[in-house]
Symmetry: C2
Subunit: 201 residues, 2 copies
């Protein structure tokens, strides 16, 4: 028996979040109720605002603050002028690359990859929009930063072929041993890739 | 650079929850935005309702659905009639005991323990309310289920002394080797307790 039906509802509801099961949800619920009511209410308001307003950037299909408004990366002149476009699968990939502080161009988010078995072809993935953007913007280079999976690689090849046909420089991010990684703990395929694509010193 | 200031605000705000750092918060934010907008909005509404309404039960100081309303456990006649009171430190302790399905009486939640160094004496902890409740309700037994810490044990002794002075049966939950636990992985103090308080077979 629980002391409060509303508390049960809260614990159930918190499990909407990925990685939050009954135990974590209880811990969060009690922490918010015991010590963080004001911050919890603020968080609920922020979640509501974000989920209601955050929309898709018309330029890159990444998240932007509101409907029809360009995202902050597309709106930045110096980034647009770099003339380099990086194609990724998800908005979280954009964030990962931004966190690495090693890219200063603009992005295009596919929100997936080619997957004929699920009925996702070039059109469903919006590749026509990407191709139009590539042709119209005369990019100096298109960087493909898609997942190193069969579907990701197929999607990369498809986009690369288009770029080559239009004489646009296209590249793919490197595969290999992670920085700080030991050879022993790296899987066979990654090690094979890092040998095949070794670079002269 | 982030694509959306509102997304940044969401990721920061989610870190209000215990155990949620920047990486987990990003994962949650993207999952809610990508696939669970409706459920996320529902969750935000539930958090708001719960943090606004959940209040303290006048009977046991556990959480109840709203101000001045008894919690569901205190409101249950069969539990009140059992005549057994279990004293715990926190509402999550109540939930843990309820989950074990091995207790059918009512509770009293102290929301802490005696801690003279922090200025928390008998009055601050509301022990006068507990003592009044114990005397007025003629309990058959008072079970102390407080933490097995120095402060928890001091609080237990304080309550036990009161009960003994008023000829009320008082007991303390057992300490020992956890069920399914191996002796090797149990700490020395627990093992010493389990030997001292061995029971005849």
């Amino acid at each position: 028996m629980s002391s409060s039906a509303l508390l049960d509802k809260l614990i159930n509801s918190l499990q909407t979040m990925p990685g939050v099961g009954p135990v974590t949800a209880s811990r969060i619920a009690f922490a918010l109720l015991d010590k963080k009511r004001a911050q919890g209410l603020e968080m609920a308001e922020t979640i509501k605002q974000a989920l209601t307003n955050i929309s898709s950037c018309p330029g890159c299909h990444n998240y932007s603050d509101s409907e029809g408004v360009e995202c902050e990366i597309c709106a930045c002149a110096s980034r647009r002028e770099s003339g380099v476009l990086c194609v990724v699968e998800t908005p979280s990939d954009v964030q990962a690359i931004e966190d690495s502080k090693s890219f200063n161009g603009t992005y295009f988010v596919l929100h997936g990859h080619l997957s004929p078995i699920d009925g996702i072809g070039a059109k469903e993935l919006g590749l026509d929009v990407l191709f139009e953007k590539i042709v119209n913007n005369h990019y100096k280079e298109v960087i493909l930063a898609l997942s190193q999976t069969i579907e990701g690689n197929a999607t990369s090849s498809f986009i690369a072929n288009f770029c080559k046909r239009h004489d646009i420089i296209v590249s793919k991010i490197a595969s290999g041993v992670p920085v700080g990684g030991e050879l022993m703990s790296v899987d066979q395929n990654t090690l094979a890739m890092s040998l095949n694509y070794r670079r002269p010193l």
